[in-house]
């Protein structure tokens, strides 16, 4: 393979200009692709359990999950490469559940691109039209346009093995665009590429998709990729849809513990709902809205991201920061763009009522007997340099944002059922 030299398909200005423009309301009404109650079992293992979602016209949806979460199976079911046990697949209002792959009009960009090795770039792109017996003239025009679109003019006579990974991917995309697919399906599209190329290519693809306005479904296990590529993200865990929403929603308002921990890092503190707040140990954090859906005394988890923690040595916290408790800095690591601290909070287990289990039992297996609940905190570089902290410093700890989630062991129960069937 040649050294990677990829010219950006679109300059940034084009991408910006073509980007936002949300689809009109009328367009949104009819989804480009819908899954209704799709389930699949493989022997005794549930691969997919009652999956339901819609992809709007021009939208890109990312299916995010660990391997074995069933995301590849969903993609293959939409493409008609695998049959669901139950459920329907609807593309542009038409039920295609019974149709074979070739009649569904979906474009699949396979993980290793699956370019035809004995065909040149232009022959690969022309394939969909050639088998549809289109006229020579039409084929030539379409291929010319697409080659221009994906900027492969100098490579049109080359064979796939002579192209770099990024170029191959562009051929794969152009090959599906040639027959105007109803939806594009990307199977781990950047898995085979190095980190730098990956970042550039996903920007290119995003810009390209906005330009051609074809709805797309991506599957990935990379959360950063999901946040950047998706208009919406669907988080899958062990064949179940945990949450579907905009990147902002799934990241900032995770609905389950799995979502909170899979997308980015999250601290979890056990507590109970008490008097419109969450009681953790001896502190009560007021959270009327967040706790409204729980009953008094219900066991919950306070979930917050490491970057949503504010620290102060003086004890004065910014106005938008809700005081949690105090703590001691235990470790500080500098990890490039930010600083990561381990903190031990002064949270003492609330005395449980007679007979009830202890709410807190933090056991730390170190020589030194340490108390307190550990959390991870990250601080951006400017803050880390202006307000330096050292291990052993006592600080006031506050939160700028948090979520309250029910505390049940379901997440782990589900996880134990994961079977890797994707390979």
């Amino acid at each position: 393979m040649q050294p990677e030299e990829i010219t950006t398909i679109f300059s940034n200005e084009v991408a910006e200009a073509a980007a936002p423009a949300p689809p009109a309301e009328s367009e949104r009404e009819q989804a480009a692709a819908s899954l209704r109650g799709v389930s699949k079992k493989f022997r005794d293992t549930v691969v997919l359990a009652d999956i339901d979602f819609d992809v709007a016209m021009g939208e890109s949806l990312v299916l995010l999950g660990a391997s074995g979460s069933g995301k590849t199976t969903i993609l293959r079911i939409i493409a008609g490469l695998e049959e669901p046990d139950t459920g329907r697949i609807i593309l542009h209002g038409k039920d295609v559940s019974e149709l074979p792959s070739r009649e569904r009009g979906v474009g699949v960009i396979f993980q290793a691109y699956a370019l035809f090795p004995r065909m040149t770039v232009e022959k690969n792109i022309a394939y969909g039209l050639r088998i549809r017996r289109r006229s020579r003239k039409e084929i030539k025009e379409t291929v010319d346009d697409l080659i221009k679109l994906v900027r492969l003019e100098e490579h049109r006579k080359k064979y796939p093995s002579q192209l770099s990974g990024g170029q191959q991917q562009r051929v794969a995309i152009a090959r599906t665009l040639a027959y105007k697919p109803q939806v594009l399906l990307f199977d781990e599209p950047f898995g085979a590429l190095d980190a730098q190329t990956r970042v550039r290519l996903r920007r290119e693809i995003r810009a390209l998709l906005k330009q051609v306005n074809v709805p797309a479904i991506f599957i990935t296990h990379d959360q950063e990729e999901a946040l950047e590529l998706g208009d919406r993200i669907a988080v899958l865990n062990a064949g179940r849809l945990e949450q579907i929403g905009t990147p902002d929603e799934v990241y900032n308002k995770p609905e389950t513990e799995y979502v909170a921990t899979f997308l980015g890092a999250a601290n979890l503190l056990l507590g109970v709902v008490h008097d419109g707040g969450v009681e953790i140990g001896t502190v009560n954090i007021p959270a009327r809205d967040e706790t409204a859906r729980f009953r008094e005394g219900q066991a919950v988890k306070l979930v917050f991201r490491p970057e949503d923690v504010c620290l102060s040595r003086t004890g004065e916290l910014p106005a938008d920061c809700q005081r949690l408790t105090n703590g001691v800095v235990e470790e500080i690591h500098f990890v490039g763009a930010y600083e990561r601290l381990t903190l031990r909070l002064d949270l003492i287990a609330r005395q449980p009522s007679e007979g009830a289990p202890l709410l807190y039992s933090v056991t730390i297996t170190t020589d030194e007997k340490r108390t307190g609940v550990p959390i991870i905190v990250t601080r951006p570089k400017p803050e880390a340099t202006t307000r330096r902290l050292q291990a052993g410093d006592r600080v006031a700890v506050g939160l700028t944002a948090f979520r309250v989630l029910p505390n049940y062991a379901l997440a782990t129960e589900r996880a134990s059922r994961i079977v890797d069937i994707e390979r």
Binding site: L81, S101, R118
Partner: protein
């Protein structure tokens, strides 16, 4: 060390392979090219060579097509008895060719299981050119299969899946995507099959009847002429067969890169 090793190797090959080959050329042309040419263009010799080519051609066609089909079935579908079938397909390599010819006689011969059924209808298979084709098919059966099946086994399924999602029918996918990937294996398999069939002797002599100008293939001609003491006639055809195999294996060797390219 290097020159010594090379010399030893050549010295061992000399009496075993190189000299025998050389001697047919030396002997065959010792009385001048004119007599060589005369021996080669004798009607019986020409007929024998032609018959060998034609029967081998049809056997090759059949075994390559069947090889593709059998490879497809045995590589793509998992079923009870699959491995047994793979072993059976490969079996003819290990069976002595005389046994192969004999078993064909037992089946198709005048008193054979099938022969008895077709004989009354005036259909005769044994001791005709068809018998030679049958014998060739039998002994070269595993060759094309053996080359094509591994290619099917290692072929990425996603190419065919990609073709299907793009909108191709199964047949279009096979024609445009699967077959081109098999190109090298098909050419190799065909050449091997053909080379092996042209040289087939053991089974052919039993089933063909060895009638000159009728059912006598080139190897049978060599054998017959040698027995009659016409060594020159035998030698002329032997040279042609030797050159022919040499050509085929040169193609296989030097075109390997082209045949292998993915």
């Amino acid at each position: 060390m290097k020159p010594f090793s090379i010399a030893t190797m050549v010295a061992i090959m000399l009496p075993l392979v190189l000299l025998p080959l050389a001697s047919i050329f030396l002997f065959g042309t010792s009385k001048g090219l004119y007599s060589f040419w005369a021996a080669l263009t004798a009607p019986e010799a020409i007929f024998a060579l032609k018959l060998s080519m034609v029967t081998s051609f049809w056997a090759t066609c059949f075994n390559v097509l069947f090889g593709i089909f059998a490879s497809y079935v045995l590589s793509r579908y998992n079923f009870w008895g699959r491995n047994a079938l793979i072993v059976i397909i490969s079996l003819p390599t290990a069976i002595p060719t005389a046994v192969a010819g004999f078993s064909l006689l037992l089946l198709w011969g005048p008193y054979g299981t099938l022969g008895r059924l077709i004989e009354p209808h005036g259909v005769k298979v044994m001791f005709t050119a068809y018998a030679i084709v049958l014998a060739n098919i039998f002994v070269t059966f595993p060759l094309a299969f053996g080359v094509i099946k591994p290619v099917f086994d290692t072929m990425s399924r996603s190419l065919e899946e990609a073709s299907a999602t793009i909108g191709a029918t199964r047949w279009q996918t096979f024609w445009h995507v699967t077959l081109p990937s098999l190109r090298g294996a098909i050419v190799t398999g065909a050449l091997l099959t053909f080379a092996r069939a042209v040289g087939e002797f053991g089974s052919t002599i039993l089933v063909s009847g060895n009638l000159a100008n009728h059912t006598q293939t080139a190897p049978l001609y060599i054998f017959a002429k040698f027995n009659e003491g016409q060594v020159e006639a035998a030698n002329a055809v032997a040279i042609v067969l030797a050159l022919f195999s040499f050509a085929i294996f040169s193609v296989l060797f030097f075109a390997r890169d082209w045949l292998d390219t993915e």
